[in-house]
Symmetry: C2
Subunit: 437 residues, 2 copies
């Protein structure tokens, strides 16, 4: 029966949990596996009430004793990092997604970030374009780059080419030359604001402009996430803390002018105390830490690890500068304090730290990969591409749990990742629904 | 990027087209590939008008100059023959299917054929049960076997076990012990009639009882298929004959009593003449042939190849017996005459003949395999399991066509198979819709 076996040696390339304290997670995985029909039934109902965003990626952290989302990206990049064996899964989910909200769609315009030299990102755009094309749509790429006046062909390291075309606005309609799309798929997180050329058009844009980082806040997302985690935990009878990172948000902050620091430090202490209490309850022998990050930040920018309130006052100039601006120089005025979740997944003889990123299209989990970082610690943000960064595609899908295997066997661990990622997706769906109210 | 490469050596195991006359098929494949967005758009519209059956498998024949369905099974077996790499695709499609027509479904009862020793079939039931379970449902198997009074566990060659439980009927409800299903999935083609225990129940049965072979006729299906093929061919501007096998049906026939033979022979001649005419038009240098098969037959039983009307009158006793009854001894009273489509796909040094079988769940193509038969000819029915039969899973999905490859490269040939199979699925959907009128 096994006629097209995936390269089995790759199974060795799955990160291992290096903490001895796997008890609670194994408990969680066992629990999720045992209650699979109830969980899937619950999700089906949720997607009836609340429509999933078009797509999303969710960064998870797996501490062995806790598995939680730490970021939910509604304009995901990194599609090129997924296992190509699961490309059909992306294609099928895309068909479902577009059928669901725009059955007549025929021509799709993809609007990416304004990068022309970030090949990591451009490969993702090429893969996404390929998925849309295979799903049966005519696809063109319309760029927001102001300096792009004529179409530009980019040659990518994979050998693929990408044709960026300037957007044309006529009346209530956006197009590229000789191509009027029925649907615009946004893959630009709008960190630098909502582009005028996309305002007030009659074509549908997914996700909508309001979900860009010019208006969206991580603190709103995690407030919804907590609500979702509470409901879900009640449903399957677990402590929500096992899947939910504690968080607090502060008022205005200016790291350069050093205003708002006392409030931040106070909140760090409150959060550390709360984490310490849970660590005592679960006999976790580690030191609590807090992640401070821009409330509207992306690309892993404007993120720092804090172990005590004092850390806030002793930042050096370089650290302050780093915390002052995020992508495209956008000023950071508000931060979110989030419970730091250790990553105890490491890989290779040098024990490089790994964190899973799960991808969803519509409400379907279509794959994921590990962010492996050779130069970062188990308490640091790994979303920092560079020479020490390596993506490692999941070897299994997240939707083939196997009751006959151990609860922490690959397909079951990936299933658990898919469940927690979908909880974050549901939180995002509620953000989206609130916009439409 | 290629982190989970399928075993490339398997690509050598894809059957090769051995006819020199590939011109028209390459033309067809090129055409389908070039018009992909139009084709997918057309299908999306069709599935809006007409709901796809829950699942189906379609037998295709690839003659190089022609690619056509020859049988559409609405209670498919053979799920165990699919490439396990595409199991997630089956899971996702099943989720879509059940969400579409019974969002509240939680417990699913699978009702299989009454086989207890046909391990080919039982492995398929196990795989199907696994797909349903992974899709998030509680699954039990309820058997129609009259002699099954207590649950029976079967151990399969794959090492899996299958628990068959006797059906219980109470009022308008069917169940197995301590398990009342929300949904009943039928995997029994009802060749021997509609079982009383499933009549007039309040639970939903998919596919409905009326689609079983006790009422369904191949001639009805192929009449719908011709209609679909006409519409589709007009849409993409091809000669429908390239994708549609000509057919005729006859009145009553009794091969043992030799009644109705003249009518059959006359129709064979008419059909052979019609095929000859198309062969001349397309410069096909082969001898036309006709397949005579039971109009309500399944399991590849009651099928024969005929090259001239005289063949009908010169059948020996063994051949007559073979054409008199189909599965479970059901008498053949009506036959369909179908244009024989050569299979020019062969594999291996001994050039074993191969024909593709495509699987669909809801309106999604989820995979397929080649039926490889070492002891059958290019003009014979290959649906004859036995020691010379070997399944060969498709190495690629049918939904990842690649515009950068040759039109007859694997992913593109499989895409073409998926398109033609979906046309047959649409014909079945129209059969289903007519039942509901």
């Amino acid at each position: 029966m096994l006629t097209n076996n995936a390269d089995l040696s790759l199974y060795d390339a799955v990160p291992h949990l290096t903490t001895a304290l796997q008890g609670p997670l194994k408990y969680l995985e066992t629990h999720l596996l045992a209650q699979l029909p109830e969980i899937e039934h619950w999700f089906r109902q949720q997607w009836q009430y609340t429509t999933a965003p078009f797509y999303a990626s969710v960064d998870l952290r797996n501490a062995g004793f806790k598995l939680a989302p730490v970021d939910t990206n509604l304009f995901p990049a990194g599609f090129n990092n997924l296992n190509p064996a699961f490309l059909p899964l992306c294609v099928q989910a895309t068909q479902s997604a577009i059928e669901r909200f725009n059955i007549t769609a025929f021509r799709v315009l993809l609007v990416p970030e304004n990068h022309t030299r970030n090949f990591y990102y451009l490969e993702s755009v090429a893969t996404l374009g390929d998925i849309l094309q295979k799903a049966g749509y005519e696809v063109r790429i319309g760029s927001l780059l102001p300096e792009l006046l004529v179409p530009q062909t980019l040659l990518l390291p994979s050998g693929k080419t990408l044709l960026l075309e300037p957007l044309i606005r006529e009346g209530y309609c956006v197009s590229v030359k000789d191509f009027v799309p029925c649907l615009i798929i946004l893959n630009n997180d709008l960190s630098s604001g909502r582009p005028a050329i996309l305002e007030n058009i009659h074509q549908e844009i997914v996700p909508p402009l309001q979900l860009g980082w010019s208006t969206r806040l991580k603190s709103t997302h995690f407030a919804y996430y907590s609500q979702v985690a509470q409901e879900f935990s009640k449903k399957i009878a677990i402590d929500p803390w096992l899947i939910d990172p504690l968080f607090r948000n502060c008022g205005q902050i200016d790291f350069m002018k050093k205003t708002g620091e006392q409030c931040l430090a106070d909140n760090v202490q409150i959060l550390l105390d709360a984490i310490q209490q849970k660590y005592i309850e679960y006999h976790v022998p580690y030191r609590p830490f807090v992640i401070v990050k821009a409330d509207a930040g992306s690309y892993g920018m404007g993120v720092m690890t804090v172990h005590s309130p004092a850390d806030i006052f002793t930042l050096n100039r370089k650290q302050r500068t780093k915390m002052s601006a995020t992508k495209e120089g956008q000023k950071i005025r508000q931060v979110i304090l989030q419970e730091g979740v250790y990553t105890f997944e490491t890989i290779g003889p040098k024990e490089a730290v790994a964190e899973p990123v799960v991808y969803m299209i519509d409400h379907f989990v279509v794959g994921g990969f590990y962010r492996v970082h050779k130069a970062r610690g188990i308490n640091e943000n790994l979303n920092a591409p560079g020479m020490h960064f390596e993506p490692l595609a999941f070897v299994d899908s997240c939707i083939t749990p196997d009751q006959n295997k151990a609860p922490d066997a690959c397909p079951n661990r990936f299933y658990a990742y898919g469940v927690i990622a979908r909880l974050a997706l549901l939180a995002a769906a509620r953000e989206l629904a609130q916009l439409n109210e």
